[in-house]
Subunit: 633 residues, 2 copies
């Protein structure tokens, strides 16, 4: 643990992701990444969505102690509805320091702002407010360019997929983004005090996003490793990061993270409020919570998890459960309610909280404090009672033009997942759904990134806008750097699988580029196009380390004798020589009919035999056979 007086050494991973280059597109310089393919491919670079910020940009100089450039500063001030105010003074209890002793603390961020922004009296600086006034902000324009990725190739793609009633456009215009934000179907988390963030949208009609959780805990506190984890998680694709720090140094840790984060940061303010009262839930009160919201809003937190749906009347519903209340925030509020036998102050003061959100454009992430913690408890009355309250609060927030998303479970077997999505859409008027997994079974601790990735892919397909990752350490321990990467990559592939199934235009471009590279044995392209090029190449090299194997027209699975590319070229040649369309060979739903056609086509083929035989002999009777990838036969 760093001492407050020791110089803080923070090292983060920088440099381009293998085989690719960070680019900035259009007048707004929208961040993207281009993956370059081997010249032999004759293919253009493949553009992919990129969340890694300046850290992968060779042109950028990174200084953690200075923080990132403020890409949004001019846009925010340009709207003329904010004023500078002196930042709330940092108190010792903000860092869990209840006395002058600051040992075990971490150094304050050197480049901290003295002046912060706030909406002018009576103003509302939320993206939703602008959207509803018909204003297209630069944030909305940025999102439109960012989401359109690859859609210029759309003509090659017939729309495919089943979006379960979503309204995904062929092309994303700034006006479409504005309209989605105005309706509340999407949010653009963008606290005016977090100008370092690159605008992104969370909504059912945009690409599915993922969140990574980081944060100190009472048993481990090291700001350097948390900043490193943040940078590491966005390198692999985290769209937002939640700082779930507890224990000491919460304020300073968050400042280091925010000033260096190009993605929106979310928090659960009740954690810090609880630390301020020494961890005694019943000592919490509105004044301390309110002060914490302002403290964090001034630092630039983009969304707050608020468990305002944990109402006193619902708490007894958890009595029947196998695993009670597993949400930390939910149980804190449940205890408060029981101790005072009063309705939750978060619920009672909701409109006052909304006034604070308006003044900084902090988005609500309405917490599911009563989510199920086991398959047994899935979809029970406690969970859905809270959900409908979140729906009511959503409408109250929207009445004030404040952005809202809704948190969801948790632990749910596959056949009960869709009901969660359906009820959320109904109860919350299509406000973006943000779920944790869900885990589809409880019997695989150590593999819960997978049990939850299965549920995440499905609920993402059904309409969930953002998936909160789960790491292999879930339920067992605190994730380390490797766990963070595995969690992020697992959720990226789940989110992408959902985009494919929803029929996002051009979502398949990357799959096709990688499949083509695989089929043509362009190994490096296959590695570089994958979500984790380093691991892909490492696995390949474990069996065939030789440099030559990278360009070899065979793989370790089948060896030199086998190659599906050659056989397929042969097949194409064969079809061409027959000078007829393959359609003649199509089998129908009816097996017998299919056979009949097959027989029929038999004759058609005969014509091709003579030529084919000749062509084949001329070809030296030499060709490879076998599978390009060894599958189960």
């Amino acid at each position: 643990m760093a001492d407050i007086n020791s110089k803080l050494e923070i090292g983060v991973t920088t440099g381009p992701i293998r085989g690719s280059k960070k680019i900035h597109v259009g007048p707004l310089g929208v961040a993207m990444r281009e993956i370059y393919l081997e010249p032999t491919s004759g293919e253009p670079p493949v553009r992919v969505y990129d969340t890694s910020g300046p850290y992968t940009d060779t042109a950028a100089t990174i200084d953690i102690a200075a923080g990132l450039p403020e890409v949004r500063a001019a846009w925010i001030r340009g709207r003329g509805d904010v004023e500078e105010v002196t930042q709330r003074e940092v108190k010792p209890e903000d860092n869990g320091q209840l006395g002058p002793d600051r040992s075990g603390g971490v150094p304050a961020f050197p480049n901290v702002r003295r002046q912060v922004l706030r909406a002018k009296a009576g103003a509302n600086v939320s993206q939703m407010h602008y959207a509803r006034k018909g204003i297209i902000t630069p944030e909305m324009e940025y999102v439109a360019v960012r989401e359109n990725l690859g859609r210029e190739m759309l003509k090659e793609y017939k729309r495919d997929g089943d979006s379960y009633g979503a309204a995904i456009p062929d092309y994303v215009t700034p006006e479409f983004v504005r309209d989605e934000v105005a309706r509340g179907r999407a949010i653009i988390p963008s606290n005016i005090n977090h100008p370092e963030s690159e605008p992104m949208a969370i909504g059912r009609n945009f690409l599915v996003k993922i969140n990574a959780n980081i944060g100190n805990s009472a048993v481990a506190s090291d700001v350097a490793s948390e900043v490193d984890k943040m940078v590491w998680s966005i390198r692999w694709g985290a769209d937002t990061v939640m700082d779930l720090s507890t224990g000491r140094n919460i304020h300073d840790t968050r400042e280091w993270i925010l000033r260096n984060s190009p993605v929106p940061i979310g928090t659960v303010p009740i954690y810090q409020a609880l630390e301020k009262v020494g961890g005694v839930a019943e000592d919490l009160n509105w004044e301390i919570f309110r002060d914490t919201l302002i403290e964090q809003a001034e630092q630039g937190v983009d969304y707050f998890t608020i468990h305002a749906g944990v109402r006193l009347p619902y708490i007894p519903l958890a009595a029947k459960r196998m695993t009670g209340i597993v949400s930390r925030g939910g149980s804190i509020m449940a205890k408060w309610c029981l101790a005072h036998h009063k309705e939750s102050f978060l619920y009672e003061r909701f409109d006052e909280i909304t006034e604070i959100m308006k003044a900084y454009d902090v988005a609500y992430s309405l917490g599911d404090g009563l989510r199920p913690g086991s398959i047994y408890d899935a979809n029970d009355e406690a969970q859905f009672a809270e959900l409908y309250t979140l729906g009511e609060l959503t409408k109250r927030a929207w009445a004030e033009d404040v952005q809202v998303m809704i948190e969801g479970p948790g632990h749910v077997p596959m056949h009960k997942i869709k009901e969660n999505m359906d009820k959320q859409l109904e109860a919350c008027g299509e406000a973006p759904f943000y779920t944790l997994g869900p885990l589809v079974t409880d019997i695989a601790p150590g593999y819960d990134h997978i049990t939850s990735g299965i549920g995440a892919a499905q609920i993402g397909w059904y309409g969930t806008a953002m998936l909160c990752y789960v790491t292999p350490k879930e339920h067992l321990g605190l994730p380390d750097r490797d766990d963070v990467k595995v969690g992020v990559v697992t959720y990226k592939l789940a989110a992408h699988a959902a985009d494919l199934a929803k029929g996002h235009p051009a979502a398949q471009v990357r799959d096709d580029a990688l499949s083509k590279a695989r089929f043509e044995f362009r190994w490096r392209d296959q590695f570089n196009l994958s979500l984790d090029p380093d691991t892909a190449e490492q696995y390949h090299d474990q069996t065939l380390p030789a440099e030559g194997a990278k360009s070899a027209h065979f793989c370790s699975m089948c060896g030199p004798k086998f190659c599906s590319m050659k056989i397929s070229q042969e097949v194409r040649e064969f079809a061409k020589l027959q000078n007829q369309d393959s359609a003649a060979f199509i089998a129908t739903e009816d097996a017998e009919k299919g056979m009949a056609e097959a027989e029929m086509s038999q004759e058609d083929i005969d014509a091709g035999y003579a030529q084919m035989s000749k062509a084949y002999d001329e070809g030296g009777r030499e060709l490879y056979i076998g599978a390009g990838d060894r599958e189960h036969d």
Copy 2:
């Protein structure tokens, strides 16, 4: 690589899986495993399905050179329809030895049988044949006991789930097993020359099964490591194992595996046939293939992958594909058809193959040689043309009472998975479906156990009977021991998630036991109840190594201050004191109505406050709060 003259050293993992004991139930001694819980739990041991054979039985002595006990020998001979014949002489080419030089070979299995079994002239020894004659075999009885696992607790479980039209019974009787086998809806792979195997069923109305692939390749050949991988894969739950060996020593490797395998073994005979003709596909012919089938049937292979659906007329359909033909067996046959411009001899000789299957009870696994190798090629006409031919062949095999399952893809986006299941059920008359994944995206090489686990869980839910695992090395290299374990555990959790979603009676028993252990902080029980206890404990200890932490009422995620169990006990107490049923608090689908009820219940609660307040004070105002597991808030 072992030399033929060196003594073979084979080490396999033995001993019980942590926290559990191998048991044998009933007169047939059906293998199961019991997981023992801490006495404090007051819970009985949890019985789980077990595939590990004698290797986890402390009472068993393992001698790899002698092979396993022949549990089925008496049953097979007792039916009086088999005769002993001298085993076909092993030829050098069976092991890829095309001359006297046997260097690079492996020693023959010492305890090899000279005499093998075959059906008497005119007899049919398939389980399907007995079933259709109304005979309940010991194999069927064994399966019934094995599948009923936990169903005696059924009264505690209301049936739940959506089985998509399957006919899962509350309780599995031997007669139900017989009827499913007679209809062809389930198979019991049980070659009469593999008496070491413990009977298991593959069918839509039984628990979802998984297969693990092992095998030498041209670039790596080591029989010891293959036997070790087989034992390792069944330890973690593989229900069947396919030996996909190619290159040299195919015959001897298979003998070592079969004699030591308590699970059914599958192969792709065309691989060995190809080696016998020096890898030149066009030199394949019926006589060599037929001889190979007999060679392998006499050794005891339980099911053969036969790519008889790769018909000449369908090959041009692959011309339009992005990734052509990725099935190795499929491309071998495609090349043969093109070279000779003839219909596949596997298709033409299908009925002769069926005669061989009958004589040993080898089950068909009709191969999908034209399965898609990429998202782009999913559900195309080549794939479905072949599927309907497999349906035609299924009916021909059933006409001779030969057991059949159907292999399926591959690479399929989520929205196209169900069509695969629907068409397979229609085309193949509910013959068991056996799929490879499918992978739901192509962009994550290195993580394809996960991309395919997502598809596997879904298609298993829809009705697929067995899921062929995919390891992290898929598309990149050959799986090592660790990859095999990760692949097996990933598929076990996917299969279990499918069982839960299908509503298998009592499938949830293990989830509930683990959730309860988690909630009560019985860490060791949580580890032991998981699919991989070793990894679960190791992950836990990385954060909290102290022995005391194993019984501590807190975890590394939340620390000592937080415990959801206590808050929930408090909640139960609160509900009890209110002396009323929680039903009063149920919110309805209608948010407004829900609120109304909430208000109403508010009054009901007031009555409870006074007592509650008193109870709480008496309780010393002391209770823990927080989450039992740290999730996203």
